[in-house]
């Protein structure tokens, strides 16, 4: 048993490492994806290109505008004086927001009347637009309060001390709310899934297509030995990729790793059972490598979208939420984020680990049932 599996392992590694395309998939792709998610993919909204449409040009209007540009969220890139100009800039996408103050803005404030500030946002990306409006509301609120204070001081000679609620926020686990800390650990899940799924789905069908499988099937190698020989090498590569991304996350991106690395290895083992089982199943069913590749992606994309990697599962329609219980990515993501950011252990993560064990056992069992040394 050991000798045959060792031989299969050596052979698979020689073949994979000799193929430049495979080397790229295994080593370069994880690096690139981690860098992309670490640097480029961010849902933090800052430096919103903004046009200032100030028809009043009073002290008050200039002060409010300065509050906006000083906040760090808004970057005033254009000063306009006609409505068509605002439309034009938004159409072109040159600005995402327009701040408009009409003539009489400053006079109204001085006279103690309500003064409107119009904020026009580009609502194409609804998420960003909502965040922009939220920022604008906060800035305007602070400004109003300052105006009020000035009036009270001027009238009474003392600052106002009204009773009110102050919101003091604390974000746990990801204190600065950096989207990098949320996405980079998730990349581990993406990478491990993609690499092991691709390698294992090619594993058997490639030999079928070239014809080399016939020569092995006519040897006395057992079905279990063959299946282990066709999954273990990819499991090892999966572990290598987990290590690679973890090191990059911790030392390059300063993503916290608060939990146990041993738990990470254990959870990865459980998770790999599922991806390798699915890959092997695809490989035994497919007739050509192209077919296997298509099937692998057909699984990968919906599984990724329905994993909670980007879109929270709680926001999905109920039927879809039920479907995600069959998705191994979902559980692994919870475990990975739990280990990295929360530092929680098996006492809290056991349901997810149990789910992975069940899914992994079932997929591997089905795949090995499908694979027969003698064809019918």
């Amino acid at each position: 048993m050991r000798e045959r599996i060792t031989r299969m392992l050596i052979k698979e590694f020689i073949q994979i490492l000799r193929d430049p395309r495979m080397r790229t998939v295994i080593f370069v792709m994880p690096l690139v994806q981690t860098l992309v998610f670490g640097y480029a993919v961010t849902t933090d909204v800052t430096d919103i290109p903004t046009a200032l449409f100030d028809l009043d040009n009073s002290r008050a209007s200039r002060e409010l505008a300065a509050q906006f540009s000083g906040s760090g969220y808004f970057d005033v890139v254009a000063y306009i004086d006609r409505e068509e100009a605002a439309r034009h800039l938004l159409d072109r996408g040159a600005v995402k927001a327009v701040l408009r103050m009409n003539k009489g803005f400053g006079d109204a404030l001085r006279a103690g009347r309500t003064a409107p500030l119009q904020v026009i946002v580009d609502g194409t990306d609804s998420n960003t637009a909502a965040i922009v409006l939220n920022y604008a509301g906060q800035i305007a609120g602070r400004f109003s309060e300052a105006v009020l204070q000035t009036r009270v001081v001027r009238a009474t000679g003392e600052p106002a001390t009204p009773a009110r609620v102050i919101v003091e926020t604390r974000a746990w686990f990801n204190e600065n709310l950096e989207s990098r800390n949320f996405y980079v650990p998730g990349v581990i899940v993406l990478i491990v899934t993609l690499v092991t799924l691709m390698l294992s789905s090619m594993a058997v069908v490639r030999e079928k297509e070239i014809g080399t499988i016939e020569q092995i099937m006519v040897t006395p190698i057992s079905q279990a030995e063959f299946i282990l020989g066709k999954t273990l090498p990819f499991a090892l590569i999966g572990f290598a990729d987990v290590a690679l991304v973890t090191v990059m996350a911790a030392y390059w991106f300063d993503v916290p790793v608060r939990g146990s690395l041993l738990l990470l290895i254990g959870a990865t083992t459980l998770y790999l059972m599922s991806t390798l089982g699915i890959g092997l199943l695809i490989s035994t069913i497919s007739r050509t490598q192209q077919q296997a590749m298509m099937s692998a992606f057909f699984f990968y994309f919906p599984a990724m979208l329905l994993s909670g990697f980007v879109f929270p599962i709680a926001n999905m329609p109920e039927g879809v939420q039920w479907l995600t219980y069959l998705n191994p990515l979902r559980y692994f993501l919870v475990i990975i984020r739990g280990i990295f950011l929360k530092g929680v252990g098996p006492e809290l993560l056991w349901p997810q680990m149990a789910a992975l064990l069940i899914l992994g056992t079932v997929t591997l069992w089905v795949a090995s049932k499908r694979f027969q040394k003698t064809s019918i």
Binding site: I10, T212, I213, V218, P220, K373
Partner: protein, 325 residues
């Protein structure tokens, strides 16, 4: 008939394989003695590979029974695999591995004892003539080398029976010759060789032959038996000028059943009972001014036998087909 199963390496009865409604192998029965070179002869698509794949445990038969090396082909396919070597029609070692890596791989899969590994590896490398190419990738080797390396890897574990599926297709004549020398050497050591081919001259090298046509075994026997027992007609070899034109002239001579170009001359199939058919042929050719240098009865070649058997089979089936259609 099976009084002494020990002496038979392969025994099959009514072996059948259907793919949907297509009958690839139709109730083939045959026996191969231990130590024999058995040739499985037939045109492409006759069912040779399908039969061999069922014998090697790669394919489950639809019906029929059989044993290989004493093991049942349905129940004990995995046990058979330890006792046979198989070389498929298509080169099926790893192109991206080197010669030595391929040998090491199969040597591990067959679990050759550690003490013997090095010797077996050397044997394969010497036998295949790959001493200079130990570390070359198999992809760059020529056809003859690949074929001998494939054979070497298939018999690393010294199996008593080897199955070769068209081993010499796409190989140059010299390599083909030396490959057959190798097969003879193995047979001399007591190995049973089951080989498929569609080359007639290769068939002559075999101890016994089975002729397959459209999934059926239409004749079996030694090459000499086939030539003498299975021919209902005689073959007259005619050497003359312009054989192509002569061909059309001879078709109408009484007693002549078939005329075909064969090498530089013609092979004329004549009825055995026909009186002085040679005289009739000669006079017909003289009438039409063809200079004849030779016209004699000859021992038929295997090709003659095969063609005549196939035609007999086709004639037999045609009326049936017409009734059925």
């Amino acid at each position: 008939m099976l009084s002494d199963p020990e002496s038979y390496a392969v025994v099959v009865r009514d072996l059948e394989k259907r793919f949907g409604s297509f009958v690839a192998v139709n109730r083939i029965s045959l026996q191969v003695k231990a130590g024999e070179i058995f040739g499985f002869l037939g045109p492409n698509g006759a069912g040779k590979s399908t039969t061999i794949r069922m014998l090697c445990g790669l394919l489950t038969p639809t019906a029929g029974t059989g044993t290989v090396a004493g093991f049942d082909i349905r129940q004990q396919a995995e046990r058979i695999k330890a006792h046979i070597g198989y070389m498929s029609q298509k080169f099926s070692l790893y192109d991206d591995l080197t010669v030595e890596e391929n040998i090491d791989f199969y040597s591990g899969i067959y679990r050759i004892p550690d003490g013997k590994k090095a010797a077996r590896k050397e044997w394969v490398i010497q036998m295949a003539g790959l001493v200079q190419h130990r570390t070359s990738r198999t992809a760059v080797l020529s056809g003859g080398w690949k074929q001998r390396l494939a054979l070497g890897c298939a018999i690393l574990h010294e199996p008593p029976i080897i199955f070769l599926d068209e081993p010499t297709s796409g190989v140059d004549p010299i390599s083909r010759r030396s490959f057959w020398d190798l097969i003879y050497t193995l047979a001399g050591e007591g190995v049973t060789v089951f080989v498929t081919t569609h080359y007639m001259e290769e068939a002559e090298y075999c101890d016994r032959l089975g002729l397959v046509y459209r999934g059926e075994l239409i004749a079996a026997g030694s090459p000499d038996e086939l030539k003498t027992h299975f021919m209902q007609d005689d073959i007259v070899e005619v050497l003359c000028e312009q054989p192509q034109e002569a061909l059309s002239v001879l078709g109408t001579v009484a007693g002549v059943k078939e005329v075909a170009l064969f090498g530089k001359g013609l092979h004329v199939v004549v009825e055995r009972q026909a009186a002085d058919v040679i005289g009739a042929i000669q006079s017909r050719l003289a009438e039409r001014n063809f200079a004849v240098s030779r016209a004699e009865r000859i021992v038929p070649s295997l090709e003659d036998v095969f063609v005549s058997l196939i035609e007999a089979r086709d004639r037999q089936e045609q009326p049936q087909a017409e009734v059925a259609g």
